[in-house]
Symmetry: C2
C-alpha cells in the first residue's frame, strides 16, 4: 500500500491513535490574546499552536474549508500555511464535501491535492461515480464519501427508502466500488450508532471518518463498538470544538493537548474493550 | 418580492434573456495574449472583458468556485474581483455545490454571500434541510439545490428508486418546501429532458437552473419545452464554454458577445414556440 492509506496507517500506529483533530477555528471563539491579530493571521497562529501541541497524539488533521473561505482570500492563504505546518508523517483531510461534474471536480482535485497539498478529501455521492473520478483516480490520495452524516436532518434524504434499505446503505454498498485503488472511505456520524453498525455490516473493510463526537453529542463508546472493523481499526474519530476550544486562555494549546490525550485514551480503552469482546 | 428572485426577474425582463453565462475560465484555454499574465490576473482580465461584452445580454452570471480555488489564494482574490465587476443589476450565482452541517454552512454563507457578495448559491441536498438552513434563511439570497445533474453518472444515486419514483423526483418534491421564503430553485441538467419534464411536473413554480447545453451536448429546444413554467419562464439556461471560448484570439470578447446573442435568440425563439403551443 502506498499513498494516503499507508500514510494514515503509519500515523495510527506511530501515535497509537484513531483521533482526527479538526482545525476549524472561528475568530469569535479563538483565545482572547489572538483575537487582536487580523482574522487570517490569528487562525494560522491558533492552528500552528494546536498542531505543535498535538501532532504526536493524532492520526490525522481535518481542516474544514468553510472556516477558511469565510475569511476571504487571506483565509485561503491561512489554509495553505496551516496545511504546510502539519508534519510530513501526519495526513491532512480537506473537509470540503465537494461534488461537481468531472471537468470541475478535476479543478477541485488540483486545488485540494496539488495547490494546498492535502492527502484526502471529503466528497458528496449525489452526482455519482463519474463526477468523483478526478478524486478517485488519484491513487495516492483518499476520498471519504458522505454516507450518513451527523446532523439531525440527515434522515431527510439519506434515509429515504431505496428498495428496502435507506439511501445511505445503498451509498455504502456502491461508493466503495467506484474505484479499484482501495482509496475510498465513508463519512458516518457518531450521532447514529445503529446506522453506523449498518454501514459497517455492508462495507466491512472500508475506512470510516466519524464526526459528531463532542459538541454534536455522539456516543464515543457506542460508535466504536458499531464502527470498528474486524481488526479493531478502520475508523477515525473526529474531534474539533472539544479540542480546539478546551481553553480560551493563553494556555489553550496545552489544554488542547490534554483534551486530545484524554480522548485518545478513551478511544484506545473502548477499542480494547470492543476487540476483547470479539 | 425582494432580494434574489426580484433581482433575477428584473434582469430577465430588462435584457429579455434567460441566459446565464458561466465564468469558469481555465488558464490553458484563455486567449493567447492573456496567458502571459499570472494565472489569477489573466482570469480577472478575461472575466472583465466577458462581463463588459455581455452584461446587457444575460440574466445572470455563474462563476464556478472550483476554477478559482485551483489558482490558490490569488484565485479567490480573482473571484472577488470578478463578482465585484458584475453590474449591480445582474445577479451572480456562486456555483459551489456546498453542503455541510449547519454550523459549517453558516461559514459558507458568510463567505459566498457576505465576503464575496454573491446573490445565490448552488447546494447539495444530501445532508437534508437543517444543513442548508443557513443558506435558506437568507431570504434575500437564492439557493439552487442539486436535483438531476447533467453528467452521465447522475443516474448512479439520483435515479435510485424511492418508493416508485427516482430520488431526484423526491428531492424536487421536498426541497422547495424547506423554506417559506420562496427562494429555492433546483439544478436540472439539459442532458436529460425527460427527467426535466418530470421535475417541472412535480415542482411547477420552482426556478430551475439548467446546465448542460453546449459542451455537454444537452438539447436546448427540448429542454425549454420540458422545463419552462406555465408562464414560459422559471428557467435559466447556463452556457459556459461555448461563450467563454468562442474565440481564442484578441477578439474573444466580441466573439463571446456574438455567441451570447445567438444563444439568447435561440432561447427566445424556442420559448415563443413553447408558449404559443400552450
Amino acid at each position: 500500500m502506498t499513498g494516503y492509506v499507508a500514510k494514515l496507517g503509519a500515523a495510527v500506529a506511530r501515535n497509537s491513535s484513531l483521533l482526527c483533530v479538526g482545525l476549524d477555528g472561528e475568530h469569535s471563539r479563538l483565545p482572547d490574546h489572538l483575537r487582536d491579530l487580523p482574522p487570517a493571521e490569528a487562525l494560522v497562529a491558533f492552528n500552528r499552536a494546536l498542531i505543535d501541541a498535538t501532532f504526536d497524539v493524532v492520526a490525522a488533521y481535518k481542516p474544514n474549508l468553510a472556516f477558511y473561505e469565510a475569511l476571504g482570500p487571506a483565509g485561503m492563504e491561512a489554509f495553505r500555511q496551516t496545511v504546510a505546518h502539519v508534519p510530513a508523517g501526519i495526513p491532512v483531510i480537506a473537509d470540503a464535501k465537494r461534488g461537481d461534474i468531472d471537468h470541475t471536480t478535476r479543478a477541485y482535485a488540483t486545488a485540494l491535492f496539488d495547490v494546498y497539498g492535502c492527502d484526502a478529501v471529503t466528497a458528496s455521492p449525489y452526482l455519482g461515480r463519474d463526477a468523483l473520478a478526478p478524486f478517485l483516480d488519484r491513487a495516492d490520495r483518499g476520498t471519504y464519501i458522505l454516507c450518513r452524516t451527523s446532523n439531525p436532518g440527515a434522515a431527510d434524504i439519506a434515509e429515504l427508502d431505496v428498495a428496502g434499505e435507506p439511501l445511505y446503505v445503498r451509498v455504502a454498498e456502491r461508493a466503495p466500488k467506484w474505484t479499484t485503488h482501495g482509496n475510498i472511505g465513508l463519512v458516518v456520524g457518531a450521532t447514529a450508532p445503529a446506522q453506523l453498525a449498518r454501514v459497517r455490516a455492508v462495507a466491512p473493510g472500508v475506512p470510516i471518518l466519524l464526526p459528531g463526537v463532542g459538541a454534536q453529542g455522539g456516543d464515543l463508546e457506542a460508535s466504536l463498538a458499531a464502527g470498528l472493523d474486524q481488526a479493531g481499526a478502520g475508523l477515525l474519530v473526529v474531534a474539533a470544538r472539544q479540542v480546539m476550544y478546551a481553553s480560551s486562555g493563553r494556555q489553550f494549546a496545552e489544554a488542547a493537548r490534554t483534551a486530545a490525550l484524554e480522548l485518545r485514551e478513551r478511544i484506545e480503552s473502548a477499542r480494547a474493550t470492543v476487540v476483547a469482546a470479539r
